[in-house]
């Protein structure tokens, strides 16, 4: 198997006539952690939503774990099984218990027997430190707890890659740390991660590469030391000044 987890080349995306993503080229190696940052409206969320076809790109190539993302439904399903995703608004299924949220996809998609799926789910719920909430419903949990369940739910599918779309943006400040802790733990275990986030501390700590996007383009990418220490692009400097200034 190749060392490339995600390969994106000359990818373009339009909303009608609006050019959202311009000539994106990005390779993510297996086990690599990427943090994508940039001002709002820069297309960073759209970019990672293109990776698992929540958004459709118009031209260029996207390959995930060697599978080309095209109009073939089987390829899309294959990629979605390999790439777990965590959303800004958690998107847990409110009519199911925490445990059922975690076992649904493994049972339906991977045809895992219930007992085994529940065992796996409990293991991941322990890992995100909320096994005692398994029988509760999402509405009974705090935001931080819900987001940790969402991470566990994605992990239950045993994905090769985890995509995070601003996972801490909808959280109260005191709950951000508990979610970031889980993410740092995941990174240390060698998970391939692509995170859209404004948590620059997290980027410094775990990222192998930080990417700065603006106006639908990748303007700068560098290891965190270099990215934060000596940003080359003027807009990167302006952005960092605003984010780190507070």
């Amino acid at each position: 198997m190749s060392d490339t987890a995600i390969h994106i080349a000359q990818m373009q995306k339009f909303y009608g006539s609006f050019h959202v993503l311009k000539d994106i080229n990005l390779d993510v190696a297996r086990g690599e952690k990427i943090v994508i940052c940039g001002p709002s409206g820069s297309g960073k969320s759209t970019l990672i939503r293109c990776i698992n076809r929540l958004e459709e790109h118009q031209s260029g190539t996207i390959e995930v774990m060697g599978t080309a993302l095209d109009d073939n439904v089987h390829h899309i399903d294959e990629i979605r099984r390999e790439a777990g995703m965590v959303f800004q608004n958690f998107n847990l299924f409110p009519h199911m218990s925490v445990l059922d949220n975690c076992t649904l996809a493994p049972m339906l998609v991977r045809k895992t027997p219930r007992a085994e799926a529940e065992e796996t789910a409990m293991r991941y719920l322990e890992r995100v430190k909320i096994p005692d909430q398994a029988r509760k419903y999402p509405g009974q949990l705090s935001g931080g707890q819900q987001q940790r369940v969402a991470i566990a739910r994605a992990l239950c599918m045993n994905p090769e890659i985890m995509l995070f779309d601003e996972p801490t943006s909808a959280l109260d400040p005191e709950m951000i740390a508990e979610v970031l802790d889980v993410m740092v733990g995941l990174a240390q275990e060698g998970m391939t991660m692509v995170c859209v986030t404004h948590e620059m501390g997290f980027a410094r700590q775990v990222a192998d590469r930080v990417i700065f996007m603006a106006d639908g383009q990748i303007l700068e990418q560098a290891p965190p030391a270099e990215f934060f220490g000596a940003p080359r692009n003027e807009r990167t400097r302006a952005f960092l000044g605003q984010v780190l200034g507070h």
Partner: protein, 360 residues
């Protein structure tokens, strides 16, 4: 103890003082209250006087009824079998009664949350409906066959209602999903069909299916008139219910389907496990409303010559012997409808409270 009295009145006003505050706060308010109360009491008293004090009870009291000033409940106790069972053969009417009880039990059981999932609820309705049909139709275990032409009364009303729900609900789900199709021509065609059928009166749809369709369809497709009417009514029900379900689906945050997609769930899994359960939860109050309306509007089939509970009621008081007791029979039929519909709407209110608790 003396000190306690003003203390408690300050916290909670006595029933008398709240009565005074609400109904007698000003002289005008007091006068309006008195007038309204008098009218209300007088109405209640007249109704009670008519329905109980001067009424005639017991079977076959025609002469007493003609002499009495009050209600003639004798017509109900003499002719109730016609209202409930229509033209169904007298010796076999226990079957019709049992069938009604089965259907009533099915309706009551489907109110229990335990039955609310995609397997149990359809199973309950299909089994209940099959039992109902076999009991009514007969032809096994030595039960003589009673064809649909001889069905009538409450059992026919329940039969039509149940058949329309069983046929219409899956159809409604299909319609709602098709109307949300990503292919524009499917979605638009479905929208056109739904809006067309919704803009036609139910009565004209029933007429078309009962009377016009046999001229158009080949003979083997025509079927019995009763079933054609049921199909037409189910189509009408499905179009309204489809819009209710679609509303329930649109109330879901977009993130729900996205999360299911990101987990790799296919279309049918998303629909069956994520979208529809939540959509039905959102759409429960209007769904119950639609079911209530459907139950009441079954009485429109009288117009095409079926003896549902309304028509049977008219038939019951239609003989020369009882033709003066029309009001009493209508009150009886109204009471039957009231029992079904009022319990359904009470149940709807209970559901709303329950779902509020669940949502938190």
């Amino acid at each position: 103890m003396q000190e306690l009295v003003p203390h408690t009145t300050a916290i909670r006003p006595s029933p008398f003082s709240s009565l005074r505050a609400r109904y007698f706060s000003t002289p005008l308010n007091g006068a309006v209250t008195l007038v309204c109360a008098t009218v209300a009491l007088w109405l209640l008293w007249s109704a009670f006087d008519w329905a109980v004090l001067h009424a005639v009870f017991g079977t076959g009291q025609r002469e007493a009824c003609l002499a009495a000033e009050g209600a003639c409940w004798s017509v109900v106790s003499s002719r109730w079998r016609i209202v409930l069972f229509g033209l169904y053969p007298f010796e076999e009417q226990w079957r019709s009664g049992l069938a009604c009880l089965v259907m009533g039990a099915v309706i009551a059981l489907s109110c229990a949350p335990w039955f609310w999932n995609a397997r149990r609820l359809p199973l309950l309705w299909v089994t209940g409906f099959a039992t109902f049909y076999l009991l009514m139709r007969g032809g096994f275990f030595g039960l003589p066959v009673v064809t649909e032409q001889n069905w009538g009364g409450l059992s026919l009303t329940l039969f039509i209602f149940a058949a329309v729900c069983i046929l219409g609900m899956p159809l409604a789900i299909c319609f709602a999903l098709l109307r949300r199709s990503k292919l524009p021509w499917i979605a638009r065609t479905m929208a056109l069909v739904i809006d067309t059928i919704r803009s036609l009166p139910l009565l004209s749809i029933m007429f078309t299916f009962a009377i016009v369709l046999p001229f158009v369809l080949p003979g083997w497709l025509t079927g019995d008139k009763l079933y054609r009417v049921i199909v037409g009514y189910a189509l009408f029900f499905a179009c309204y219910q489809a819009e209710i379900i679609r509303g329930g689906i649109q109330a879901l945050p977009a993130g729900q389907e996205e999360a299911a997609m990101a987990l790799g769930l296919g279309y049918w899994h998303r629909v069956g496990y994520i979208v529809l359960p939540q959509a039905f939860k959102n759409a429960l109050p209007p769904t119950i409303n639609q079911v209530v309306i459907t139950f009441k509007e079954t009485s429109l089939v009288t117009i095409i010559g079926f003896f549902d509970v309304m028509a049977s009621g008219r038939a019951a008081s239609g003989t020369a012997e009882w033709n003066f007791a029309v009001i009493e029979i209508y009150v009886f039929v109204a009471l039957i409808f009231f029992v079904f519909v009022f319990s359904l709407s009470r149940y709807g209110a209970y559901l709303e409270r329950r779902l509020d608790v669940g949502r938190r």
